[in-house]
């Protein structure tokens, strides 16, 4: 594992999420011939260019054929390889969703399906390329573990945890270049175990993916104004870390789930389903995501801004909800 440091984290942030994915996977492939990368013709868009040149035996471009990519990945995974298959989020989760269901869900073949550019990360490529519904689709398939790393360091952690992990995983990569850094030093990462970025407080924010970094910025802004906010990185969206949620519900009077996904079916839904089941008598739970429509499109930063998912928007949301309390 490469060292997580302020310097490395900043360098990773500069090259961005997708390039870091390719770089990280190349690093693990170098030391582990069992690692195989599949791409549905998006190798150059996911930092796998170098991987394909340096480890041609371990790389397959399946062509622009996502359904076939998932099936082939399943056959290779059954053969004992650590298979990471990647394409843009809507194609991984929706074009090939029935292949995911049969191969990864029903048969349990331990493919690691990597959804690139999820959320609004594809910017001007628009709604056809955004990953706005992928969590809803993938969450409904039994047997999948769903992870969304908070930053580039957590991509390294996720890949490392997935190598040798005997179950299928959907890895949702949001964020682009210059995404906010969450981790500047090493930390304990375990699939299914959320990480407290800021300890639970009267108001606690729960998030996943690169939205965690924007929430962190918002929390820092509010801290300067004297408002302490807890922040939980729920990097594993399925299964949810129920212990962490129980702790949050016991400390906080307000839980705010913030995510770069449609409000239907994502992390907010998962948290609400959980509390509907176990109850949260002491606290109110609100969710903030993307409204139920295909709206205007633009640069990634613009999309985050108009959706209230940048640090300013999240800070405003927290203040508004606090005032409503």
């Amino acid at each position: 594992m490469v060292e997580i440091s302020k310097r490395n984290s900043r360098a990773w942030s500069r090259i961005g999420i997708r390039a870091t994915y390719g770089q990280a996977l190349s690093g693990y492939a170098a030391e582990n011939p069992n690692v195989i990368a599949l791409s549905a013709d998006l190798g150059r868009s996911s930092g796998l260019d170098r991987f394909s040149k340096e480890y041609p035996r371990q790389f397959i471009n399946t062509g622009i054929a996502e359904q076939n990519m998932v099936g082939v990945a399943a056959g290779l995974a059954r053969s004992g390889f650590d298979v990471f298959a990647s394409t843009f989020a809507p194609f991984a989760s929706m074009r090939a969703s029935e292949q995911v269901r049969m191969n990864m869900g029903y048969m349990g073949e331990p493919v690691k399906l990597v959804a690139l550019g999820s959320g609004f990360a594809m910017g001007f490529l628009g709604n056809s390329h955004y990953g706005l519904e992928d969590l809803a689709v993938m969450r409904a398939i039994p047997g999948l573990t769903i992870v969304s790393p908070a930053d580039c360091a957590e991509i390294y952690k996720t890949i490392e945890a997935c190598i040798g992990y005997p179950k299928p995983v959907y890895i949702r990569l949001t964020g682009a270049v210059n995404c906010p850094v969450v981790y500047e030093e090493d930390y304990d990462f375990e699939l299914g175990k959320a990480v407290w970025i800021k300890p639970a407080a009267d108001i606690t924010v729960i998030s996943a993916g690169t939205t965690v970094g924007h929430c962190l910025k918002a929390a820092d802004m509010l801290a300067e104004q004297g408002l302490a906010i807890g922040l939980l990185n729920m990097h594993t969206i399925k299964p949810l870390d129920k212990e962490a949620l129980a702790h949050a519900a016991s400390v906080s009077s307000l839980l705010i789930v913030v995510e770069e996904h449609m409000r239907a079916g994502g992390l907010g839904s998962a948290v609400l389903e959980h509390f509907a089941e176990v109850g949260a008598p002491r606290c109110r739970v609100v969710t903030h995501g993307i409204p139920d429509r295909y709206g205007e499109t633009g640069a990634y930063s613009y999309m985050l801004k108009i959706s209230g998912l940048d640090a300013d928007g999240i800070a405003r949301l927290i203040k508004r909800e606090t005032a409503n309390a």
Partner: protein, 270 residues
């Protein structure tokens, strides 16, 4: 030695005993193909179903599971009591294959057009590990309507996947009737040829031709082979042959007697 007649009798018996509709026509059309494959081609050990060096078979036309289960039973993968659970509540032997390598079932199928890509992944895995094993995938001609079949066909040819052998049980019918797609302007074998496969066309009920085709597939070291087998849906039961009413239907007591007669067997009274 398992006879084709044994397999057909087992299919009919099992369909009758479960009392439910079963996919009988497409099970009967692939009997000779499966019998030669399991009897003479596959390197497998029914007494040790998960033997790591085994060849692999995938029934991509998963609805024809009854023919597959009859073959697995007769080759010793499981006993008659197990087979008798077919399409009964709670059984793992249902109308489509459910992955259970300990019973000889390597994958779950039923959603058409998916078995070939899983098979290609297995074949590429064998190649990466330099293993002398092969993958056989059985498809239907109706199944070849699925676009995902052709995604795999293209990649398998591009990768030169010689360990992969597809068999298309071309029985000329799909659920609603004739497989008209490949009946006029497009010939199924021609499409596979256009996708760069080694194509062998045979009568899918002629054991000698089937045997030769599998030998030729094995000898072909330059990419994947497809055996396009011309078959008759419902083969062996005269009133079911090329009669798509028997795509998915129930065998009543009277029909069961007719089936036995058609197979040249005397119905046992009672």
């Amino acid at each position: 030695m398992v006879s084709d007649q044994d397999i057909r009798k087992t299919i009919v018996d099992t369909a009758f005993k479960c009392g439910e509709s079963t996919h009988i026509g497409g099970s009967l059309s692939m009997v000779e193909l499966l019998n030669v494959l399991f009897g003479e081609v596959l390197d497998h050990r029914p007494e040790e179903p998960e033997w790591p060096a085994r060849d692999l078979f995938i029934l991509s036309k998963g609805h024809a599971v009854l023919g597959y289960l009859a073959v697995l039973h007769l080759y010793g993968y499981f006993d008659a009591d197990k087979l008798a659970t077919f399409q009964t509540d709670g059984s793992d032997l249902i109308a489509h294959p459910v992955k259970k390598p300990q019973l000889g079932i390597e994958s779950s199928n039923g959603s058409l057009g998916q078995g070939l890509s899983f098979g290609l992944g297995l074949a590429l895995g064998m190649e990466l590990k330099n293993e002398d094993r092969r993958v056989y995938v059985m498809l239907g001609d109706g199944e070849c309507n699925e676009g995902s079949v052709w995604e795999t066909a293209a990649l398998a040819a591009e990768r030169g996947a010689s360990r992969l052998c597809a068999i298309v049980d071309e029985n000329h019918f799909r659920n609603d009737g004739a497989t008209t797609t490949y009946a006029n302007k497009i010939q199924l074998a021609g499409v596979w040829r256009a996708f760069g496969w080694n194509v062998i066309e045979i009568d899918g009920h002629d054991r000698d031709r089937i045997r030769d085709a599998f030998a030729a597939a094995r000898a072909h070291g330059d990419g994947p082979t497809v055996i396009v087998a011309n078959t008759i849906k419902g083969r062996g039961i005269d009133f079911m042959e090329a009669n798509n009413d028997w795509h998915h239907n129930r065998i009543t007591s009277n029909i069961y007697r007719d089936c036995l007669r058609a197979l040249g067997l005397e119905p046992v009274d009672g």
